[in-house]
Assembly symmetry: C2
Homo-oligomer: 212 residues x 2
DNA sequence: TTCTTACTGTAGTAATCACTACGGTAATGA
DNA sequence: TCATTACCGTAGTGATTACTACAGTAAGAA
């Protein structure tokens, strides 16, 4: 039919640009309206390309949204990595605070990814979209990342406590994002309190803060 | 046209039952598929009533979903109130812990309300649905409720700190709900850690735990 | 030049969407 | 008994949905 992206042949410049334009349009619309709310027609109009082009680049709507998730996540990870490379001289606790602050800023700048992801997570449709599975995969990875991170910060704690703190950090981050979207709270303040709360929980788990 | 629910006349028994059946069906479907995903046809099939009946009871889809939010919220509040009436002999801190546990149980038993509400919150459509505004109103009320509650538990803290803790509690609750839906974490454990974390943050704000 | 591949444009498909026009029916108040 | 009201059933409306068939065009390979 119309598959096989690029075999040996050199890619056409126009084609690559079109693919990006389609993904940009789809990411923006899906980030605002969710899976069902993203119509091919709307993506077509926003990208300036006909529906047939969208279906040439992507098998169907399901794979289009999945591709949006994939690209957004890799962009996200790369941005975080760039930020992390900057400060290597910090102590674990300082790293934790600055890491939280950076995540908050990241969320403010690119809200579409998490918004779409959370919408996909909440929806329960009979045939689960590929995009939802992809986002779930990014969550598992993020949680693993957090466990490693918190394991280094709260060295004396056991695995179960680290797990609890990781889950709470991710949950708090999601919740604060939603609060910022709806109640318009200051997300930077929220993340600061979250960091303080997680540290407080760690202390009550038996962790001793290095500065005391 | 077809408005004016009940003027002076006695309500017809069948009509009341139908209205409930429609709301039940709509609540279930909207709780799983969101605003766009809830089709009148699906509500019609699930409730066993034709579309014309739905449009007799509700002006349009927008008001139907709004009515779903209204009813779910009042059910929610009533259930919470019934629980709160049971234990009046507890200390504020005990009340807080037990309140958190009860909220967690409430979320497990009736997940449709919060799931729909969060989906509505995240969505950004050109013409904001009435249901979204209604849910936002419940959020404002919940936050006020939390402020009063935490103000009593952490008596020595100032308004700004209480505000931060309230926002964090709500955000943590939302986030844990999402985590339970997607990663399948134990929500009771999560709420216990959340309570511990909020108390930890309160301590770091200068609050002194009564049991120490 | 000619053939192949990569992509775009036009014009459709059947299905589903929210919503309505309207007649039928049964219970109620007078 | 009779008109009124409350609600249900049938059968549609035009718009929008995801998706496709297919011809056209332009670039690179031979």
């Amino acid at each position: 039919m119309a598959q096989s992206a690029s075999r040996q042949r050199k890619t056409r410049a126009n084609g690559v640009a079109s693919r990006i334009a389609i993904l940009d349009a789809a990411a923006h619309i899906a980030g605002e309206r969710g899976y069902e709310g993203t119509s091919i027609n709307a993506v077509s109009e926003r990208s300036g390309l006909p529906a047939s082009s969208i279906y040439w680049h992507f098998k169907n709507k399901d794979e289009l949204i999945a591709a949006v998730i994939d690209r957004s996540y890799s962009d996200w990870i790369e941005a975080l990595r760039r930020l992390a490379d900057q400060d290597t001289t910090l102590s674990p606790v300082e790293m934790y605070s600055s890491g939280m602050r950076q995540s908050a800023e990241q969320l403010i700048q690119f809200p579409d990814f998490l918004r779409l992801g959370l919408m996909l997570t909440l929806e329960r449709r009979p045939s689960e979209p590929t995009a939802r599975q992809r986002f779930q995969a990014t969550r598992v990875e993020t949680l693993a990342r957090l466990r490693r991170y918190l394991g280094r910060v709260f060295e004396s704690l056991g695995e179960a406590e680290i797990e609890q703190l990781s889950v709470l950090t991710l949950a708090g981050s999601d919740g604060l994002f939603i609060a910022a979207e709806s109640e318009g709270i200051d997300i930077a303040d929220g993340f600061e309190t979250l960091a303080r709360a997680v540290m407080g929980a760690a202390v009550s788990f038996g962790w001793v803060h290095p500065n005391s």
